[in-house]
């Protein structure tokens, strides 16, 4: 068991808590950097998809896990980022400019949609984003002049400094870099006053407001940052699938994104990555065991969405900490062995919180 004696404020806000963290994260960095040399093309592609989902997951984690707002329209932001990037690339703009532009443009869209709805309770954001997602999906289908409609849109190959980024490995490194960037931005944001304002808003809007936090401003900021990160993920997603179809960005994808956050564990960046791994690997797992399941369960249509629904329900009911919570509990068990207590992770008894006053 490691005891941390904090003697300085710097230790409180440090990105890495101790040398153990530095060692393990360093090892992880080395591993993911040399992964393309070890693993085959298929696995690299899958890992790349995990990274892309993790980028969007980190963005959504800031919104859901740290600010307590929920969005059911993040697939639309992924789509906006994807099309913005692809259309700009097709116009001949270099990739190093289109990627940030796609993110910025999506962030602006997020601010535009968030600004009016965030004045109301968080519930309205869920409903508004659900409606927004469906409108954007229709726009992708109907605005054939730009998106190509159902014919699809072939995404041009990006180049950085004259080097074409082709194949799974190229996109892999770009996604990894963007994921690292997004994690770095989020971690820094969270230890800044802005991050604490977000957590304060999540825990109690009224007390945050009375401490002088401008609710609408911070909520809009977080929503825009979250949308922007999802837009970056979308830009990479365009290159990952190479051929954009308008019906890829539907409600189911939005629900998958929120599943990342819930299954991973609310309020932890590590959770966003664990959740992304889960969400990407579950369909692969289904594909593998499909033929071995009894009674033809594997052949049922709609198996995948219902499994996502089931996992979501089970996690919320029985494991609110998600995968990250499970990891923390396991670690605690070993660290405290054999003194694990039944009450270590028991949640405080909670009562219905009313937000109304009459």
């Amino acid at each position: 068991m490691r005891y941390l004696f904090r003697t300085q404020y710097q230790q409180d806000i440090a990105l890495f808590r101790h040398n153990g963290d530095r060692f393990w994260y360093g090892l992880l960095t080395v591993l993911v950097l040399i992964a393309p040399a070890i693993l085959g093309e298929f696995y690299i592609g899958e890992l790349c998809a995990v990274y892309i989902f993790a980028i969007a997951g980190v963005g959504l984690m800031l919104l859901v896990g740290y600010t307590g707002l929920i969005s059911l329209g993040h697939a639309a932001f992924l789509g906006i980022g994807a099309y913005a990037n692809a259309v700009l690339l097709a116009q001949g703009v270099p990739f190093l400019i289109t990627l940030p532009l796609a993110g910025l443009f999506t962030a602006l869209c997020g601010a535009a949609i968030g600004r009016p709805t965030l004045r109301m309770s968080g519930l309205y954001l869920a409903i508004a984003t659900l409606a927004f997602g469906s409108i954007v999906g229709t726009v992708f289908q109907k605005w054939t002049a730009v998106t190509g409609g159902f014919d699809g849109f072939a995404v041009p190959t990006p180049t950085i400094f004259g080097i074409a980024i082709e194949g799974a490995t190229g996109i892999y490194y770009v996604s990894l870099a963007v994921l690292a960037f997004v994690l770095w931005v989020s971690a820094n944001l969270l230890r800044s006053p802005t991050g604490r304002a977000m957590v304060a808003i999540r825990d109690s809007e009224v007390s945050a407001q009375s401490m002088g936090i401008h609710l609408a401003r911070y909520k809009t900021l977080v929503f825009a940052v979250s949308a922007g990160m999802t837009g970056l993920a979308g830009a990479l997603f365009a290159h990952y699938v190479r051929y954009l179809a308008p019906d890829a960005f539907d409600v189911l994808l939005s629900v998958q994104f929120v599943t990342i956050v819930f299954v991973g564990g609310l309020g932890s960046l590590r959770g966003a990555i664990l959740g992304a791994m889960f969400v990407r690997l579950l369909p692969q797992f289904i594909a593998v065991v499909r033929d071995d399941l009894p009674f033809g369960i594997g052949r049922l249509p709609g198996l995948e969405p219902s499994l996502f629904g089931l996992v979501l329900v089970l996690v919320i009911l029985f494991q609110p900490g998600g995968l990250n919570g499970m990891w923390l509990k396991t670690k605690q068990w070993f660290q405290a062995f054999p003194f694990k207590r039944q009450t270590s992770f028991r949640r405080q008894k909670s009562y219905a919180k009313s937000e109304r006053l009459r």
């Binding site: 309205y124 409903i127 409606a131 996502f308 919320i316 609110p320 109304r356």
Partner: protein, 293 residues
């Protein structure tokens, strides 16, 4: 030029589909007023109710009225169980946990219905199918009229229930102030489950009324998204507001389908919803509410 008869036709059709949205929205609002939860699976409960009615009427050959009422009772019992066994566990967790929980339940219901009843559209014979009524020279489908009449009747029954019966008044009390209701000896938990039961029963009625107009299929739960527009227009807390909101959405949608190119009718309700949030987010029939710390 559109003639007057055509406009009236559109208005009646719109009002009929709007009543369905209104009924689903009514389900949201009942639950929201009482427990501050929003049931994103309301549309899927309607789908389940429709399928139950289909089984009773088409498979077990019960008469329409008996089968319909039995289906409403079964769905209401299902709603009660849903609250008693699942939703009650998440009381006190943040609001978005409930949103995701009901959304997940919706996916499960859809899969369960697909496994039980298949993925094809089904329908059953009703006394209103393919009949028309001639009112003052205006020819209207009885199916549409039955929806409007059914909604009006239901609103009347609910009004009487909430204002005249002991249980109804207890429900109002529990919605207004849980703690005070506890002190007065009202079994608040049972009352909340009963509210879920009423909401599920209303959803089932919506499914039965809708079945002559459009068939019952697994994806009819997506109507729930349109019902959100109705609830938001009504101010998310007003029962008459949600029905009026539903009628507004239905009529706007009909005219959009008539005027705009194909495909845009589907998103009209969403556009109306977003416009409403931009212009008047508290809805048309808002109650002034403060916040409790």
């Amino acid at each position: 030029m559109i003639d007057a008869a055509r406009i009236l036709q559109l208005v009646v059709n719109g009002a009929a589909s709007g009543c369905i949205y209104g009924l689903i929205a009514l389900g949201f609002v009942l639950i929201y007023k009482a427990t501050e939860m929003v049931n994103f699976a309301q549309g899927d409960v309607m789908m389940l109710g429709g399928f139950v009615a289909f089984s009773l009427i088409a498979n077990f050959h019960l008469p329409y009225w008996v089968g319909g009422i039995l289906a409403i009772v079964i769905t209401a019992a299902f709603g009660y169980a849903l609250d008693a066994f699942i939703l009650r566990r998440v009381i006190g967790q943040p609001q978005f946990a409930v949103v995701m929980l009901t959304l997940g339940l919706g996916f499960i219901f859809r899969a369960a219905a697909g496994i039980t009843w298949g993925y094809d559209s089904v329908g059953f014979n009703t006394p209103f199918t393919n009949k028309t009524a001639n009112i003052g020279g205006l020819v209207l489908g009885q199916d549409n009229l039955s929806i409007i009449v059914g909604t009006v009747l239901l609103c009347g029954i609910l009004y009487l229930f909430f204002s005249k019966t002991r249980v109804g008044v207890a429900m109002q009390a529990a919605s207004q102030n849980q703690l005070a209701a506890y002190y007065m000896g009202i079994p608040v938990r049972t009352i909340f489950s009963l509210i879920w039961a009423i909401s599920a029963g209303v959803a089932c009625l919506a499914g039965i009324l809708l079945s002559p107009v459009s068939m019952i299929d697994v994806n009819m739960g997506f109507l729930g998204i349109k019902a959100f527009a109705a609830a938001v227009i009504g101010g998310f807390g007003s029962i008459p507001g949600s029905v009026i909101g539903g009628v507004i959405v239905g009529i706007v949608e009909q005219f959009a389908g008539y005027k705009l190119p194909a495909g845009f009718q589907e998103v009209t309700s969403n556009v109306v919803l977003l416009l409403m949030l931009f212009i008047r987010p508290q809805g048309l029939f808002a109650e002034r509410m403060g916040k409790r710390v």
